[in-house]
Structure formats: C-alpha cells, structure tokens
Amino acid sequence: METNWAAEHLQVIRTLMERSAVYRRALAPVMILNGVLGTAGSIIALAVEIDTPRSFILYWVGVAILGLAGSFFLVRRQALKASEPFWSPPTRRVTQAMLPALAAGGIITGIAYATMGSPGIEAGLIRGVTASYVICMLWLPTIWIILYGCAFHAAGFFMPRGMKVFGWALILGGCALLAIGIPDRYHRLEHSHAIMGFFFGLLHLAYGTYLYFTEKRRNET
C-alpha cells in the first residue's frame, strides 16, 4: 500500500518536472545566424547567377545544412556553458515535433531533384518555361516555407509562445505566395532567390532581433 503511494508520488513528480522543463535555450542567436545565412545566401545566389533548377536546389540545400550545423553548435555551446546536457528532454521534444515537417520537406526536395532531368518534365512547357523551372520558381520555395512554418508551429508547443506566431507567419506567407503566383514578367529564378532571402533571411533576422531584446530583458529580471 505504502509502496504504491510512494511510487505514485514519484510518478507525479516526474510528470511535473517534465512539464515544466520547456525549451529555454536562447533562440535569438540561432535565429540571427539563420537570418544572416538566408540573406547572404540570397544575395550571393543573385550575384553569382545560380540560374538552373538543379543548382537552385543544391545551393539552397547547402545553405540549409549550414544553418542546421550552425544552430546545432550554438545550442550545444549554450548547453555546455550552463553545464546541462545537450540532448535534454526539452531538446528531444522540440526535435521530435519539428522532424515530420522537415522530413517531408527533405523527401519532396529529393523527389523534385530526381525528376528534374526526366524528359517528361523537361519537355513540358508552362507559360513558355519548362516545368522544372516552375517547380523551382513557385512550388519548392513555397513548400519549403509552409513546411518550415509547420515545423516551427509544432515546436512552439514546447517553446515560448512567439514561436507559434512565427510558424503561422511562415505558413500564411507561403500560402499567400501560392495564391498570388508568379507574374509572367518574373519567370526567372532570381525571383525565387529573392523569396528565399525574404522568408529564410529577413524574417529570421527580424524575429531574431525581437528575441534578442525580449530574451535579454527576461534574463535581466
């Protein structure tokens, strides 16, 4: 009888400890790093004229890998500084929440890349350009933005509330982009680089700057 009582008590304690351990790493540096990478990535892509669909995909996947690696090192450094484990339960929960949407984005990108050289795709013309151009100009960036937004929104359940708002901004922005489409005069990959720069660069920079000031104030109190 007493054993049950003690075990139940321990279980309640464990549950409460898990619930309270929301993800509390400073996100401002992570957001600013990704914002800088996204903006710089967009500017460089426009400057060196990355203008084939395949190079577009490879280039932006490379930028995403850089962003992921940089975020990993920043978060790990924070954990080491605080003498806390990196792979803590909150980190695990956030990763698990983000994974489905990010994995879906990765798989769709892989499929788009694989089908790009196929004669069917290359032969198809939509408003004067090949289908692979259209995939890169409109579909891929918007799918990336929407799924990325979904990932952040899911992570927002274990993070400060602003993260869900940021997720929604990306989701609605991506949907608006789809609704507007690309006018004929912008039938070029430059347009897509600019979109990537805005959503993955400037928006991150704006949110990172907001977090920098609000997180700092919170720490000071």
Binding site: E2, T3, A6, A7, H9, L10, V12, I13, L16, M17, E18, R19, S20, A21, V22, R24, R217, R218, T221
Partner: protein
C-alpha cells in the same frame, strides 16, 4: 516494515501543492507565478500561500520585477531547497525499495 524513512519525510515538501511547486522548480532555472498557476491549475491565493511557506522555509527564492510595465514574480529553487527536494526523492525511493516483495 521500517517506519523510519516515512517519518523522515519533510512535512513542508510533503504537502501536495508544495510538492508540485518544488517539482516544477526543480526542472527549471526559474518559473513565473503565472506559469506555475496555469500549469498547476491553482488559484492565486492558494499558490501565494504555498509560495510564502516555501520561501519562509528557505526552499525557494522569489523575485519581483516589472516586464513591459507589468509586475512579474518569478520563483526559483534555493540550494537548500534543491537539497531538501533531493532528500525527499531519495526517501521515497527508499520506501519503495524497502517494501519491494523479495
């Protein structure tokens, strides 16, 4: 059955509401009053009373400040609070071990 560990249980922490507060604070650096109130589904008065008791015992520290011109009360576990909480958990585990069927 040896009643010794049970008698050693800290009465301040052993109360349901205070145990919940201590558990949450043990997993976080600090928590705001509203975060705890919402998570534990307590009334303001109830939470205030428990916080006061824990503060008077020296188990938690309370910081009052302002954020966006609104008062912000945050609580965190003190060193002695963490020690008492760890002892409490150890005693619970001891009770379970003692009463395990052999």
């Amino acid at each position: 059955m040896n009643p010794e560990p049970f008698l050693q249980l800290d009465r301040v922490i052993h109360e349901k509401g205070r145990l919940a507060i201590m558990s949450m604070l043990a997993a976080s650096t600090e928590l705001s009053f509203t975060e705890m109130r919402d998570a534990l589904n307590m009334t303001d008065g109830n939470l205030t009373t428990h916080i006061r008791t824990l503060q008077e015992t020296g188990y938690i520290s309370v910081t009052k400040s302002f954020q966006n011109n609104r008062p912000l009360t945050t609580c965190s576990l003190t060193a002695s609070g963490r020690k008492a909480f760890t002892s409490y958990i150890n005693l619970l585990e001891k009770i379970i071990q003692q009463n395990k069927p052999k």
